[in-house]
Amino acid sequence: MTDTIELTIGSKFDFIEIVGSVTKGVTELSGFDEETTNWIELAIRESVINAIKHGNKESAEKTVDVTYTLDQVALTILVRDRGRGFDPTCVPDPLDPENLLNPNGRGIFYMKSFMDEVEFSKHPDGGTIVRMTKRRTEPDGNGKGETGSDGPSID
């Protein structure tokens, strides 16, 4: 069985809290533990902030769509904006020593750290689609159940 929830907002940072609370609600329903829920919420917020800021450039009439799809294997979240798109392979690495003190440039890195998969594509009608997946069970299918402390790997 598949469950889907869709949320559409205008391009205002004020609405980020609402995206956060829907994300929290969906991840809790999905059975993720509290820590994983927090990291998923952070990843989605970062993606929606990028959609508002870099994609729609805060123009009020452009919307951001967030779609949550839960199946037995994973929670998949799509974030779509109406911007010009960008080349994700050209984004500077925030771990590069020369970028370490850059005040920007960590959003996509956090998204990739906290989600199992992050893919960028262009919507046929224009705009960027970010597709993020978090698996509900261990990838090797050993039946360990919900991912436990699947947070970032700390060195």
Binding site: L100, N102, R106
Partner: protein, 116 residues
């Protein structure tokens, strides 16, 4: 909603900024920047940021801490961090920022580190 509270106090030659709430895009980040800018202008160059009561930080918030660190250093001051929550610790760690910031779990140790 989504607000940052900033309580300032002084211990010897160090100004402690006790933050509470959220350091996120918009309000939170701007408030922190303004507070640090004002202190530096007033000649307070030893800054200790207490993050113990911060319940949410995003990449803008982390970026703002980095900005404040750089600005303070460029003006001959020092900015250090106290009482990282597990979340902030993780966010700094995976972006290798624990190699940049001096961090403390005890206020006394932090204060001592600034020297007399």
């Amino acid at each position: 909603m989504a607000h940052l509270s900033i309580d300032e106090r002084t211990a010897g030659n160090v100004t402690i900024l006790e933050l509470g709430g959220k350091i996120t895009i918009g309000d939170g980040s701007v408030q922190l920047r303004e507070a640090v800018r004002k202190l530096l202008e007033q000649g307070h160059k030893n800054l200790l940021i207490d993050l113990g009561k911060v319940d949410y930080v995003d990449s803008s918030g982390i970026g703002e801490l980095v900005s404040c660190y750089t600005t303070t250093k460029n003006q001959g001051g020092q900015l250090k961090l106290l009482n990282l929550t597990k979340k902030i610790q993780d966010l700094l760690s995976i972006t290798k920022l624990l190699t940049v910031f001096e961090t403390f779990e005890s206020e006394a140790d932090a204060l001592a580190s600034f020297g007399g």
